[in-house]
């Protein structure tokens, strides 16, 4: 009986402590970040070791649990190939994409983007409505806050905190995240917001009258100096439309290009802070480059 009385008193005290912690954080104290830094320095290496030790096990289970995704992807790729064979209808779109990709590649090359590979060693778990992962690289590998994180398929998110050996990434599907997006092809601009679902985001166009269609792809608009989001990274594909053209709250459901449910190897875009680098790169077509002699209007579309 005494135990229950004491437990009740203790519960009351600790609930008050919790409330204080929440309120302190709402007011934006730096203490939480400091505490997280210390914890990350201690627990980060353990997470890395455990991930490495259990890699064969997790890989085996994941190959079973993500089987559906893979067969979906196979079907999608088969369909893409079919469309390519069909040819002509998509040629303009493909040419435009090729141009943009080329200019993006050029941009990355001249801008000197560097990608540092990393492994995901922790997934946010209790947080069903926020999305975050831990990477096994940190400040000693040159990682800083607000860098883009990508896979071979597209954008994953941005780094939001860094310890010496680990970095925490906020996924683009986190409900608090908004990424500037650009429609591939016509270059229209919109905002892609996390939907609080694991592998989905909502797109709202700046101009609600823009033609949207299922299957259209999105690339990142890019932030100033490429941080936190580098320009031209694939974001995802429109899978459903909500509302009609011109409706103010018109939106579209977007499935991210990168499969955020089963991340393993990712890359952090280490963008050098070079102000106005893109300005000097883009406007004039490169004189000596063989493939892109024509002045491409789409090249300028990539610049934010």
């Amino acid at each position: 009986m005494r135990d229950i009385v004491r437990a009740r008193a203790l519960l009351g005290i600790l609930l008050l402590v919790s409330l204080t912690l929440v309120l302190v954080d709402v007011r934006g104290s730096g203490a939480v970040a400091g505490l997280r830094g210390i914890t990350a320095a201690v627990v980060g290496p353990i997470e890395r070791a455990v991930t490495a030790a259990t890699a064969p096990f997790t890989a085996a289970v994941r190959s079973m649990t993500t089987f559906g995704d893979q067969s979906d992807r196979t079907a999608a790729v088969t369909q893409d190939v079919q469309q390519l064979h069909d040819g002509s209808a998509n040629q303009n779109q493909i040419a435009s994409q090729a141009n943009q990709l080329q200019s993006m590649l050029k941009l990355a090359g001249i801008g000197g983007y560097r990608v540092v590979p990393a492994r995901v060693v922790g997934y946010g778990s209790f947080v069903t409505f926020t999305g975050s992962v831990t990477l096994d690289i940190g400040s000693r590998d040159g990682i800083e806050k607000d860098m883009s994180v990508i896979t071979g398929d597209g954008l994953v998110g941005k780094t939001i905190s860094v310890s010496p050996t680990t970095a925490t990434v906020q996924l683009m599907t986190d409900s608090k995240v908004v990424v500037g997006a650009r429609l591939e092809g016509n270059g229209q601009v919109g905002a892609l917001q996390g939907a609080g679902k694991p592998n989905e985001a909502q797109l709202r166009m700046l101009d609600p009258t823009v033609d949207l269609s299922v299957g259209q792809k999105l690339v990142s608009f890019g932030s100033p100096d490429g941080r936190p989001y580098a320009p031209g990274l694939p974001l995802g594909t429109i899978t459903a439309l909500h509302g009609t053209a011109g409706q103010v709250d018109r939106s579209a459901t977007v499935v991210p290009a990168a499969n955020l449910n089963s991340l393993d190897i990712v890359g952090v875009v280490v963008v050098p802070v070079r102000t106005e680098a893109r300005e000097s790169v883009l406007p004039t077509p490169a004189p000596s480059s063989s493939g892109s002699a024509s002045p491409t209007p789409s090249a300028t579309e990539v610049t934010p």
Partner: protein
């Protein structure tokens, strides 16, 4: 100040192990919807073995740790509060045997499902996340399901270890 007792060490070792396994192994398996809430199950197991006072303290500490270790984001305190209540409730459950019973598994599943709902409500109240209510039921059900399955193994194991670490006649005093 006394040296930490065997039971204190055991409780924190169990919490820490569960935490790392949940964040770095279980969450990476790509299971449908929720992540198996191993840490919550361990809190329930310790609370069942040691009573509500220990349950509250272990729950609060475990929740706070989960909010601190990478990749945690957002504010501190919400999970700590919810897990403290979970420890308190589970601590009132009388221990009858080391074997898993339908009742202990149901209790764990209920606490896991309930805590998911409460965390979603807290997140929307304090603005730490924009909650999509349409996906909540799936998370509640899967979380409860995983918790119930984990309870079959975890609760007897923790209970046995806890009984084994008898270096004090009055376990509840350890935390006072």
């Amino acid at each position: 100040m006394r040296a930490p007792s065997a039971r204190t060490v055991l409780a924190f070792a169990a919490v820490f192990t569960a935490l790392v396994l949940q964040v770095s192994v279980l969450s990476r398996l790509g299971l449908p919807a929720a992540t198996p809430p191993l840490l919550l199950v361990v809190v329930v197991a310790i609370a069942i073995a040691a009573g509500p006072t220990t349950g509250v303290i272990v729950g609060f500490s475990a929740g706070l740790l989960l909010e601190l270790v990478p990749p945690a984001v957002g504010s501190l305190g919400q999970v700590a509060a919810v897990f403290a209540v979970v420890g308190f409730i589970a601590g009132h459950y009388p221990v009858r045997s080391e074997r898993p019973t339908v009742a202990t598994c149901a209790l764990t599943a209920g606490l896991a499902g309930g805590s998911t709902i409460v965390l979603a409500v807290l997140a929307s109240i304090f603005g730490s996340a924009v909650v999509t209510w349409s996906v909540l039921p799936v998370y509640v059900v899967t979380s409860a399901l995983y918790a119930g399955v984990l309870a079959i193994a975890v609760i007897p194991a923790v209970s046995l270890l806890y009984k084994g670490a008898t270096d004090s006649p009055n376990p509840s005093r350890h935390w006072a």
